[in-house]
Each structure stands twice: as C-alpha cells, then as structure tokens.
Symmetry: D2
C-alpha cells in the first residue's frame, strides 16, 4: 500500500533476521477484512494515522520460519495463529489481559507494523503467537479477527443468555456466521437473525438461527414483537451498526435489555434517556478480542468443528479480492494465500 | 391532585381498614421530588398514565398505625420506611429482587395508588415496609428515593472504582449529595463534581468531593484532562442528564469508561459508534433501587451518619414546597411534615 | 408419615378452602427424592425438626383446583409446577431472589407444611406456582428439584466453562442426568463423568458426556490427568459428595479450579490449605434453586426437549417406590401418580 | 542462603550487565516475610524446590541503576517497586493478568532467581517494575507483598461488603494491618478483628477495626454472635489459617458466608458438607496479587496515606531480623536496608 485509495502493489522487501523474542513466519493465509477496505481508502487517517508504504493485513496464520534467541516454545514449522492486538505489555489494559485495548496499541497492517498480505511476516514477540499444530492456516487465519471479534462480544453478554431469552443479530457475514454459532454453542438463547435477502436467510438458518427476519419483506419490529410475545429481546448484537439496525435494535430491547456495538457502519447511536433509565438498558462497545479469547476460539474450532465459509484468492490477486469484498460479493470470509 | 398543572388540593378522605397483608401508616414525612413536578405537570402522561384525583408522593416514612391480619413482624408505632417500587411479586424482575423494575409496576403517588402527601397512607403489603425503629422519619423519608437512587447507581459501578480511578459527577442536589458520600464511603475513587455556582461547589466539597469544577468559570473538559493527566474518567455518573452534561460526560470517558444515566432532563444521548467500540465504552441506565438496597442505605444512615440536608415544609404548604423546588431554590431535599 | 423409619400410611384428610393468595392443586405427579428417604429415616431431625404426622413430598406438579380471592393469573385447570423453596418473602435472601435460602424457610414435605405425596396439595401463595400449560405434570414434577438443583449449580460455574475447559461430574442419577445436559446446552465445556458401572456409563454418554471414567475398572485420577493433559479440571461438580468423590474431585482440580458441593452423602471435605492458596481453589455449596431458575429450567424443557428418564409408581405404591430408590434400583427419577 | 536452616551469609557477587528488557536496581529496602522463614527452614522444599546458594527476598523496592537496550519508560534513578510474581508471560494466567498464578512461576528469592536481600538486584524484565517516583522505597517495599496480598483478598470479596455486613479478620500483623485499612477504605463493612493480646487489640483499633475480640479472654464465637445479633459474619478473612482460626471462622459464617484463605499456618480446613450446602458457604484461596493490583495499592498509598508500621534493620543484621520475626517480636513489617 503506497497511497490511499490506490491498488495495492506487490514489492520485494528484505526479510530481517529475528532477534530476541522476534519471530519470522511464513504466511499460510491472510484474511481480507472490511476494516482493511476502510483503512485503504483513508477513512481512518485520523484514528489510525500511518506513514506509507505499508503492508496491509491483520488476520494472519502461517508457519514459524525463524526465531530469535529468547523465543520459547516454538520451533520452525510450527503452525501459528497471529494474535493481532499487539500491546505494550505494561499498561493497565495489557497487564489486565486486554492487549487489544492497549494504551499504545500497534496493530500489524493498521499501524506502522507490516501486516499479513505478504509471503513472510515479522512478529515482534512470540507472545503474540498461538501454536496450533494440526490445524490448517486457511481455517485459522479468519479466526484471528472474524472469528475472535464476535466471540468476545458473545462472552460479554453470555450471563444474560438464559433459557427463554432472545438474542437479536444484525449482520450475517464474515463475523455474523461465527456469532450465531457461538450463541448456540455457549448458551440456550433463541437467536433471531435479521437479513436482507434469501441467501443470507438460508445461511443464518444453516449456522443455527432459530428465527430469521427478512427486513426487505417484513416489518422487523412487529416480527420481533410476535416472536418474543411482546417481551422484547434481551440482547441486540449489532455487527453492522448502521443507523437503521441501531434504531431497530434499540427499539426492540425488553426490560434490562442490552445493545452490543461491534460494527462500525454508522456514526451515532441515539439513546433515548427516559426509556433507558426506566428499563435499565445498557449499551456496550466490544473491540476485537484478547489473546486468551483467541485461544478459546481455536479450542472451539479444534473440537466443535466451527463452520467457516471461505473464499480463497491467490496473494497476487489481492486487488481483485478487496474489490469483490467492497462490492459485497463475498459469502463468508475472503482469504489470500501466497 | 385533581388536574395536571394546577395547585394540589387538601381533601378529607376515608381511611380504609387494612385487610390481609395491608398496613396503614401515619405519615411522618414525605419527600418532594423533581419527579413529582414532572408528573404533576402532565409531562409523563404517556409513560405513567393515571386517572385523577390522586395523592402524590413516593418518598415516605412514618409510623405503623394499623395492620391487617396476615401482617408479620410489625406493630403499631413501629417506625417504617416505605419502599416505593411496588411490584407484582411474581414477574421475572420481582422474583429476581428488582421490584422497582416490575413488569406491572404500581408506584404510589405515580400510578393509581395514593402516595405520601397525606396524613395517612395505605400500603398494600407489609412486604413494602422496612422497620427502622430509633430513626427519625424526617431523615428516613428522603432515603427512600433521593438516597436510594444514587446508591443503586454507585453499586452498579462499584467494581470499577479502584484506587487511582476517577468518577465524574453531574448534579449536586438532593441525589448528588448522597452520591458523593456513597462514592467516598464505598470506594477509594477520586470524585470530580461539576457544579454551576459557588454554593454548590462548597456543598460538594463538604460532602467529600476531591475535585470541584465550576462549569460557569472553567472549561470542564480541559479541567478533567488536567486532573486525570489526560487519562479521562472511569465513570461519569450523570444525575442531571441534560444534553450538555451528557456530551461532556461522554467526551471525558477514558478507555473502558462507563456513563451511568440517572437523571431525566435530556431527551437523547448521542453515542459515537467508532469511539465507543475502540474504547469499549458502556452506557447504563439505573432506575431507583430495590428493597435490599434501601435496607443497605438505611443501615448506612444508621451507622455512618450520612449527611442529609433537609428543607422542612408543613403538609399544608405543599404548593409552596413544590414551587420552591421547581424554581431551583431548594438546597438538599424538601420534605412535607403533616 | 406418622413415625420416623416406618412405612408411610395413606390417610383421608380434609381439604381446606383456599383464602387470600392460597391455591389448592390436584397433584399430577410427585417426585421421590433421596432427601425424602434421609428425612423419613429421621436423619435430619436436628436440621429440619418437625411434628408428625406429615405428608412427605417436595417435588410436585399438577392442576389448579381452586384459588383464593387474591390469586392472580391462575385459573382452574391450569398446569402448574410447585416451586418448593417457600420463603417468608421479606428477609434479605427472599428479597434478593433466593427464597430457597430464606432465613425462615418452610419447605413443603420437609417442614410443618404438607407435601405432594397426596391427591391434593395446599399452596400458601400463588407466588410459589409456575404456570406451564401444555406440559405433562409427570415431566414437570422432577424438574422442580432433580432438574432445578443441578441447574443452579451449573449456573454458578457457567462463566468458567469456556472452550477447552473440563468439568468433572460425580453422580449420574436423577440429578446428574440433568447436570450433563445443562453443561452441554449452556457451554462448550468437556464433560468427564465418573460412574461405577457400565449401565451408568451408557447413560452418561447418552446424556452427552464427552468422557466417561468407570471408577471400578480405572484409576480415576490418572484417567483425568491423561484426558486433561495434566492440566486438571476447571470444575468438579459433585452430586454425590461422599468422602471418596470429594477427595478425588479436589485432587483433580487444576489452577483456579472450583469444587461445587451439591450432594450430601459425606460429612466433611478436607481442604488442604497450601494447595488451595497456591492454586486459588474454590469450594462452593449450591442449594436447590430459586423461582426464576425453575422458570428457566421449564423454558429449557419446553424448547430443548430435556431428556428425563422416569419410573412411574401409583401413589398407593409409595412405600414400594421409596424402598426401590433406597436400594439404588431406580434409573432416572421415580414419581408417584395419584 | 547456602544451606537450609543455617544463618544467611553475606557474599560478594558479580553484577551482570543488563541486556534486552533486563534492569539492575539498587535495593532501597527489602521486606522480611514469614514466607522467607518457612522457605529458609526448608519447609517448602517440595512445593518450591531450589538449588542453593540463593539470595532470599521477594519484597523489594529501590532505584533503577542500569537498563537493557529494550527497556522502555525507565531511567537511572527512578524509584521502582518490584512486582515479584514473575510469570512466563504466555500461559493462560499470565495472559489473563494473574502472573503470580503463572503455570511456570519463577518468584525471586523463592525460586532459582536471586531476591532482594542484597545491595543490587537483577530484574529479568522492566515489565515487573512499577515506577513510583516521589515515594520512599522503605514504605514501598512492604507494599509488594504484605500490602498486596490482603489487597487481592479484599478485592475478591468486595462485592459482599455492603452496609450492615460483618467481616471477621484473623491476624493483625504485617498483612492484617493493611487488611483492616483496605476493608475500611474500600467498603462500609463492619470489621471484627480477633487478636491474642492487648497490644494487637490496640493496633487493630488504630487501623480502624470496629470491634476487637481478644481470644485469650473472650469466647470468640459467642462474642461474634452478640455483635452480629446471631446473623453470623458475611466474610471470614483468615490471614493466619491455623486449625483454630479456621474452625472458629467457619462456624461464624452466616448464610451465604465466605471464608477466604490467605494464611498458611494450618494444614487442612474441615468443611462440613450439610452446613455448606444448606447455607451456600464458599471457601476461596487467595494468592499474593497481580501487577495491576500492586499499582492500585501504590496509588492508594500515594493518596490515602496508608499506615505502614515498619521495623528497620541494616542488611548486615539480616539474621537478627529473621530471628526476631520468627520469635513473633515484630510489630508491623521488618525491612532490611542496605
């Protein structure tokens, strides 16, 4: 990435020798994420300012190629997932286990650190890798963001997901497919997925949704009222977060209902004060996931056979992959394979 | 109260004989609350529709006068605080301990049940009374709402209030005075109170605030930045909840910061999506308090000598009391004494 | 029950007219519980002293027969489950939602209140009934204790049951069958059931256990080490709580591991101090369940088709039923049907 | 320390040059702990096996002397507290924020890493240091264990410490003095301290205990019954954990009461099954504290003027210091100053 809003360019770059805790991995697969598109179009220049050129890609898995002299527990050839929420390791959030919320974050492919759209990737510390021998990097890469982000969101609300509860889900794409599966694997909640076409409706049902509402053909709020017998939902998990989904999501909350913000499409959520106090509503933001949560996602994938619909592209076709995604033509997750 | 927006009228009414679990209390004191003003002006006709006439007053303490045959643990003359969040006793929130969030709430003085602006009050069940012999009803009455509401809010955020944390407080009135005291009694957090004049500033300091910002003479946001060394606050506890306080409160949140909605002045809070997700902000509404929380407030008052600034009016002066409050001329809490 | 350790006797008794909140139900089914056996043999005379005669039975479901004048939401013929943890409704635990932990508990069939081994049962308040029209009382009765008790235990530990975690379960009987199902329905934990014969092993697998250890043929501790790759289990859920199961359960805990006491077979658990501090072990007791938890269990049964293996006896065969249970010859739950 | 149970010996050793993340500190003060005595007498050879010689001391503060090339945020002369729960940084507990519970712990002065009974100390990573410029290392050193350990214990139970609650405390020594102060600074609980002489009674009152029971002159259990009006205590915080204190502590628990194990004097706690289930008692072990907790303790010390009674010895008098402590002749905390 040499300039915002221009096609990415394939360059030859030197591979540094890893020192200390550093590791060089051979990329097995790199996920292509909506965040990459936002980032490449310069939409986040203020929030995440960087100097170009830079290698994009924050969703990576591969094989250990070479390790620094202080690296422990990893050897050449080991399959690894790259935990991308690189933190300083000392601030209150890093020390508290949430490195992705580091006060001095330095995410690969989204900050001055080169990411995974490459043949090799330089990792500043083995503490950002999770060994996963026996797993396929192509399955593993999407877990590090598309799989991890909804997992953290679901864990935040898990204790509300009792038998008889309802969870409303907006967004049945790369993240949403995992979200439905987690909700069903981790709780007995009834999942209501809101979609915009029949393809997505089918996908939602396949992933385990109990109810599917097509917002093109049904009035979402009255459909929810009917399903919940006027009680409203316990949680609205919004992976889209557009003006529309937020308003519908908030209006659908029952007493003590919680809205979880995961998506980044809209700019503002309007919270009506009186209604929020009278019903003790909550709104909570959820960011990516931490290292242990990624380890749990991988444990789940290893055992429970999480379904991950994948669209594979060759690394050389990177611009085609990002375009296809930007045009909404990807079902599931796009990955680049060098 | 015979008509919305007209002065209250003193009527003679019959006192029913209590049956079953019912209790008649002789009112010792009844607090006058901003909610009563909103209610009497008909602002809440949609949220809380009632048939008039009705006796106002949801903040009451007094003496047991007569009990029904199934009442247990209470005798004539006992001092009692009236827990006002009357619930059905069977719905999920009542059974879960939060009767004030009952699905079929029937709050005295705010629904079809007569309240405490009277000489006697009819209580449908002894389960809504807390015995507090040895305490003065004049001190007790304000605890049942002005004292209870910020207590619940503080309990909701208590686990975030660690040494080194900052809590921003808007509203140093009837509720806010208690809020500061709870924050200091229940945690080592640093309290930053925002006020609009020197009288309130003095009051805030008396109650225990560590820092006081006068929004008339200082830029609140930069004052907060300076106090917190740019970290932002951990909690913004908003007892006003006007457009202004909400915007400043949200903008002042540090990473993982939480905004608690208690006040009802404004209509809408604007939550910026990107900022909320990146920082994992939370917004939580807090409604009144439950029975056990009221018992805890009373235990605190009994032991710790909570300071309660009181303005006493005779029941006959009820219209003068409500006017004075509406004009912002009450410091602390106004109470009516029959 | 006229005398401890003697056969129960069928008597004709008068049916009182329900007043106020009272309800008379026609018993549809009454579960026979190990607790009844302990109680009938006088083993609990100190903990639960009663005057005889008394009707035993604390696990009941049936049909509303007649209601007092203050009863709300119930009509003749409604199917109801009897929540047995009758509380005073005012103490800190009742008001906090845990009536089964009431400071002044009065459990039917285990205190001075007559239980469900009868054709009709007198319920002191409709607040102890859960309407469940459309469900069969024979399925419903066992849920009120055998189904409810392990449910509460599982909820207490649910947040520890992450992907990759291990839960050890002792006791695959009336309660244990439900426990396995809850663990699998509410979490992705790996369940290791310990049994003493092949019949129970089969049952455990049918219910969903991931691993089954037969303590007659295997060394339990080394089997657990192998399964958990020396990490130990996250939770030991002990529905037996004999000296043996407790010692093995404690020794199998990994770091931060928790032992949950549900069973009542043993007298004492020995907690090694150094090991408990160094590993931050926890021991928690779990008692029956509360009203909302019973409602959740019923919601689960209604939707998820919980498997409930049942052994049906006629009410007249009550002594045969209790004997068969005492001899360990019941698979699943024994119920009495009038 | 050259041999178990022999006096410590002062040796000249070489000071390595710090590399990478390493730091050399000039010791300002080193606390002398009961754990050091246990360790030096070889009582923990099984739990914590080491090769001798070794420098003892896990409670250290001082000044940065020299830093490796990758160290961030520290410069020569900075005052630092040494967080002693050195972990691997990668296991589930380290990544979850509890490094002191690391699966591969390597505590200085208690494992193969040299501790703080020295003029200089080698720290393997700046991530184990907390900068505290402006504070005195003599005050700071005791905070890293005597101050930290009860802090974590208090945080674990904080949400139970509501107004009207009672907390029983055993052990008013180095740790107990802090425990009382935390309980009062962080909650409105009523503290009942149990002591064995008048000197300790005075100390307990000075630190803020609401009630003090002298076990030499009073029957502890009946004294507690009287204070709590037969309700029992909510928490028993046991910093001694001898057979006696444990039995009394457990017997004093009210419904839902929790016993916290911090001390290591006894071998076994006997938990009566029936009582624990019926009352839902809990027993929880608490180990040292984590990095953020230490930062909180330091924040508290900085602001709230925590009282720390100190007994100062010169480093050359190390054997005198350990002897005096072993003989129970230290009030507060003994520290060594080079």
């Amino acid at each position: 990435m040499h300039r915002y809003s221009e096609p990415l360019q394939i360059d030859e770059v030197n591979l540094p020798k890893p020192k200390g805790e550093e590791v060089i991995i051979k990329v097995g697969a790199a996920g292509v994420c909506h965040s990459d598109i936002h980032f490449m179009h310069g939409e986040w220049q203020k929030t995440l300012p960087v100097k170009l050129p830079l290698t994009v890609g924050h969703e990576t898995a591969g094989y250990v190629e070479e390790v620094g002299e202080s690296v422990k527990g990893l050897a050449k050839g080991d399959v690894v997932a790259v935990f991308g929420g690189w933190g300083c390791g000392v601030c209150i959030n890093c020390k508290g286990g949430d490195e992705q919320l580091c006060m001095h974050a330095r995410w690969p492919g989204l900050s001055q650190f080169d990411g995974g759209y490459a043949e090799y990737m330089h990792i500043p510390s083995y503490r950002f890798l999770i060994r996963a021998n026996g797993m396929d990097p192509k399955m593993l890469a999407p877990l590090t963001d598309a799989g991890l982000t909804p997992y953290r969101a679901v864990k935040k609300i898990r204790r509300m997901l009792n038998p008889g509860s309802y969870t409303l889900l907006f967004g049945v794409g790369g993240l949403g497919c995992y979200a439905i599966q987690y909700l069903k694997l981790m709780s007995p909640t009834n999942v209501i997925a809101v979609v915009r076409n029949e393809g997505k409706a089918r996908l939602a049902r396949e992933m385990g949704a109990d109810h599917v509402i097509n917002s093109k053909t049904e009035d979402v709020i009255s459909a929810i009222r009917k399903i919940t017998e006027n009680r409203g939902v316990d949680v609205s998990l919004d992976i889209v977060a557009s003006r529309d989904t937020l308003d519908v999501g908030f209006a659908s909350l029952g007493k003590k209902g919680t809205l979880v913000l995961v998506g980044l499409m809209g700019e503002t959520l309007n919270v009506p004060i009186m209604q929020s106090v009278i019903n003790e509503h909550k709104v909570i933001g959820s960011l990516w996931g931490n290292y242990n949560e990624l380890a749990e996602v991988i444990a789940l994938a290893r055992k429970q056979k999480l379904k991950t619909p994948i669209n594979q592209f060759n690394l050389m076709e990177v611009n085609k992959a990002t375009e296809t995604l930007a045009n909404g033509k990807i079902d599931g997750r796009a990955i680049l394979v060098p």
